[in-house]
């Protein structure tokens, strides 16, 4: 049993010297990615914990701040990221089936979605900046609790900022594996990097799935009234 697996392994150029089998290498890589995602959850968790505490303390100002989020841009961006996760998943599927062209195409579409998300985020950031909704000396807010709304906007900028940074890193990673895919590095036998980058991309997507309601939707019912 071990003889056959090691002889198979010897024929796989992607097997690194310190692993015994390809299966061991893949297991290790996938587990490594999941452990890394746990660290990411803890990283964002610090901000989510702070958000929760202050939202409980300053619910009114939180609603006021949230009313100044652009509902439609936020919703469109959510849709864009969800679609990008779909194309990423299709890319992973294509890599498993060894379909090089569709793999590259799906990865490139994923990158375009990611860039689109960043572009829209940029438009929103610009609007907030012009309206004096960046914390600090130039912060202006017409409501009764401008200080606490400033706190809300501190969270908005920190959380979406760190999320956007993760999208940028994600785009870089997807671009790298697109290039490698184009050169034919991945196929049926070896496509683990595609899966791992996919996991990362989905994680970044999931973070946004939480950010969207917490920042954009908490006041939406009130806005319609």
């Amino acid at each position: 049993m071990s003889d056959t697996s090691s002889s198979v392994a010897a024929h796989t150029p992607a097997l690194e010297h310190h692993f015994t089998t390809m299966e061991q290498q893949t297991d290790a890589a996938v587990m490594g990615m999941w452990v890394f995602l746990v660290t990411e959850i803890m990283f964002f968790g610090g901000m989510f914990a702070g958000y929760m505490i202050y939202r409980y303390m300053y619910y009114g100002p939180w609603l006021e701040g949230s009313q100044h989020m652009d509902f439609w841009w936020g919703t469109i961006n959510t849709a864009i990221l969800l679609c990008s996760s779909l194309t990423m998943a299709l890319g992973v599927r294509a890599s498993q089936l060894g379909q090089r062209t569709s793999l590259v195409v799906f990865l490139l579409i994923t990158i375009l979605f990611g860039l689109g998300f960043l572009g829209i985020k940029g438009i929103e950031y610009h609007g907030h900046w012009v309206d004096g909704q960046f914390p600090g000396a130039n912060f202006r807010f017409p409501g009764p609790n401008p200080r606490q709304v400033e706190l809300f906007f501190s969270f908005y900028w920190a959380m979406t900022g760190f999320h956007a940074l993760h999208v940028v890193i994600g785009i870089g990673l997807v671009a790298y594996i697109s290039l490698r895919s184009w050169k034919g590095a991945y196929g049926r036998a070896y496509h683990n990097p595609v899966e791992n980058v996919g996991l990362y991309w989905h994680f970044v997507d999931v973070v946004w799935i939480y950010l969207y309601p917490l920042l954009y939707l908490i006041s939406h019912k009130h806005a319609l009234e």
Binding site: A28, G32, F43, G45, M47, A49, Y54, M57, F155
Partner: protein
């Protein structure tokens, strides 16, 4: 540098396989990376020690005469930051863990060798930022970066220091990630979880803390940085932000980090005690579970650093209760080491002296930890020298002792040479005496009410402070000695055999020093850990 003087070629090992700076800076060999870490943290140990020296010299007299108050604030801040983040946290995991874990579990390398090298480069980037901070005039936040002091009032290099620690945190995260995956996926056939050496268990527990805790420190420091640079007011009271939130986030990492600074030491001591008692470690299963229990409980006690910060009495009581709970697994460790000694054939080699030192000083540090876990006493001694003495007993008396013990124990494996035993014993003795003379008076000082972090003090505290400073100079000599004779032994030390101590464990079954791939053939393990009853051979080096 011709080989004319060397009659016989050494067999190939990880040290002599390749030469040249490239072969070190681009290596993915876990053993070479361990040595890169060793060099880096040794440098920072002496930087941090230099700050400690200046602190003790200032405190020789009650008046603030050697340095100004502001300089003193910088000295204790940078002493803490350098020692905690650039020496103690990476000490055992990144040096000894990196070197030993793959060998101990019968693997050729860690699961992600390139990530391992990356972690060292990240460490170097953080180090560069820290050195920039130091050379650019320092920082005086205290190692804790408490807001709003750090975000509002100080004009020193807060952002650079926070970035240094933010960056260096990622090297811990990657090391922890690498260890977890390696221990799960790279064990040799037959190396079951219940056969793992306790050193591996201890580093596994440490890695859990790295992975779960360090990211929270990263985000806390990042938010402090954003508040300083861009006025995002997450902790700003003027906006309704709460500085206590920073303390919660900071200690959520930094209390578990205290256990990062003791658990790997416990692993080292377990190996040493079993070896030099020549006996199976008592209560293996409990020892393994105890380190995991300490790591888990460590996440439930952070607010005991905040008893006087204005948290609610009820949460203080709960945190106090959990803090007491930590004593249970800690006591299991101490009892089981002592039980291992019972009827063992003990030899008093240098590593064993350090292990004895560790057990005694850790017990002192742990017991005083119970004092300060009690709400009433904590209110009395918070921010006094009692706290300083308490955590130095754990971190220096515990961890540094264990680290040095481990360095002596595995030095033959790392360097292929023996250190000089007589000098080793002398240094161990000096360190033990110097340590106690430095820090025991601080318990009394603290209990009498001398506050920490002041550069002046009332004249009645002077005698004890002079004792403490005298102890610190003995300690300094004790720390310089191993530095000198380790370097000496690399050239002149006796050639080490593969298993000089007659110790159990896979690392002693390979050559000293090991080859690049550790084993010629991946071993198959058919024996339990610490099978000293089956080892009949007479140890070569033991008297």
């Amino acid at each position: 540098m011709t080989t004319a003087a060397v009659p016989m070629r050494e067999p190939e090992n990880y040290l002599n396989k390749e030469y040249g700076i490239r072969s070190w800076l681009l290596t993915t060999d876990h053993k070479r990376i361990a040595l890169l870490y060793l060099l880096s943290i040794t440098f920072f140990f002496f930087v941090g020690g230099f700050f400690a020296l200046l602190i003790r010299l200032e405190l020789l007299t009650p008046a603030g005469d050697l340095v100004s108050a502001d300089t003193y604030n910088k000295l204790f801040t940078m002493h803490g930051q350098v020692m905690v983040f650039f020496f103690l946290i990476p000490a055992v995991p990144a040096v000894l863990g990196n070197f030993l874990i793959p060998i101990m579990i019968g693997a050729k390398d860690l699961a992600f060798p390139r990530v391992n090298l990356l972690s060292w480069y990240i460490f170097m980037l953080g180090s560069a930022l820290m050195l920039y901070t130091i050379l650019n005039g320092g920082v005086d936040t205290g190692w804790t970066f408490y807001t709003p002091l750090s975000t509002e009032y100080l004009t020193t290099n807060v952002v650079a220091a926070a970035m240094a620690i933010f960056v260096v945190g990622f090297s811990s995260i990657l090391t922890g990630l690498n260890f977890i995956v390696t221990i799960h996926r790279m064990r040799a056939p037959g190396m079951t979880w219940s056969r793992l050496p306790l050193f591996v268990w201890a580093n596994y527990a440490t890695s859990i803390i790295f992975v779960l805790g360090t990211p929270v420190l990263a985000i806390s420091l990042a938010l402090v940085g954003l508040e300083r640079m861009f006025h995002l007011g997450i902790f700003d009271p003027r906006l309704g932000g709460d500085p206590l939130l920073f303390q919660h986030l900071f200690w959520f990492y930094s209390h578990p980090a205290v256990y990062v600074m003791i658990l790997p030491g416990m692993g080292v001591v377990s190996e040493i005690v079993a070896c030099f008692s020549h006996k199976r470690l008592f209560g293996y299963r409990f020892m393994a579970l105890a380190v995991i229990a300490i790591a888990v409980l460590g996440f439930l006690v952070w607010a005991h650093h905040m008893f006087v910060a204005g948290i609610s009495l009820y949460s203080a009581m709960i945190f106090s209760f959990f803090s007491y709970m930590v004593a249970v697994p800690s006591a299991i460790k101490v009892f089981n080491w002592t039980a291992t000694l019972y009827r063992g054939s003990i030899s008093y080699m240098t590593p064993m002296l350090y292990a004895f030192g560790f057990i005694g000083l850790f017990t002192m540090g742990g017991m005083t930890g119970l004092f300060v876990a009690a709400l009433g006493i904590d209110v009395h001694v918070t921010d006094t020298y009692f706290i300083i003495a308490h955590f130095h007993y754990i971190m220096v008396g515990g961890m540094v002792m264990a680290y040095l013990g481990g360095m002596h124990f595995w030095w033959p494996k790392i360097s292929g040479r023996m250190y000089p035993e007589g000098w080793g014993k002398l240094a161990a003795l000096l360190i033990f005496v110097g340590f106690n003379l430095t820090f025991f008076p601080q318990f009394i000082l603290g209990y009498m009410g001398m506050p920490r972090r002041y550069w002046q003090y009332s004249p009645e505290f002077q005698v004890l402070n002079v004792l403490s400073t005298a102890g610190a100079s003995i300690l300094a000599v004790g720390y310089l000695l191993p530095m000198v004779y380790f370097l000496w032994s690399m050239r002149y030390g006796k050639i080490a055999v593969d298993n000089p101590w007659g110790a159990a464990g896979l690392e002693w079954m390979t050559t000293s020093p090991p080859t690049t791939s550790n084993f010629d053939e991946i071993p198959t393990v058919t024996w339990e850990a610490y099978n000293y009853d089956e080892l009949k051979e007479v140890p070569v080096e033991r008297h």
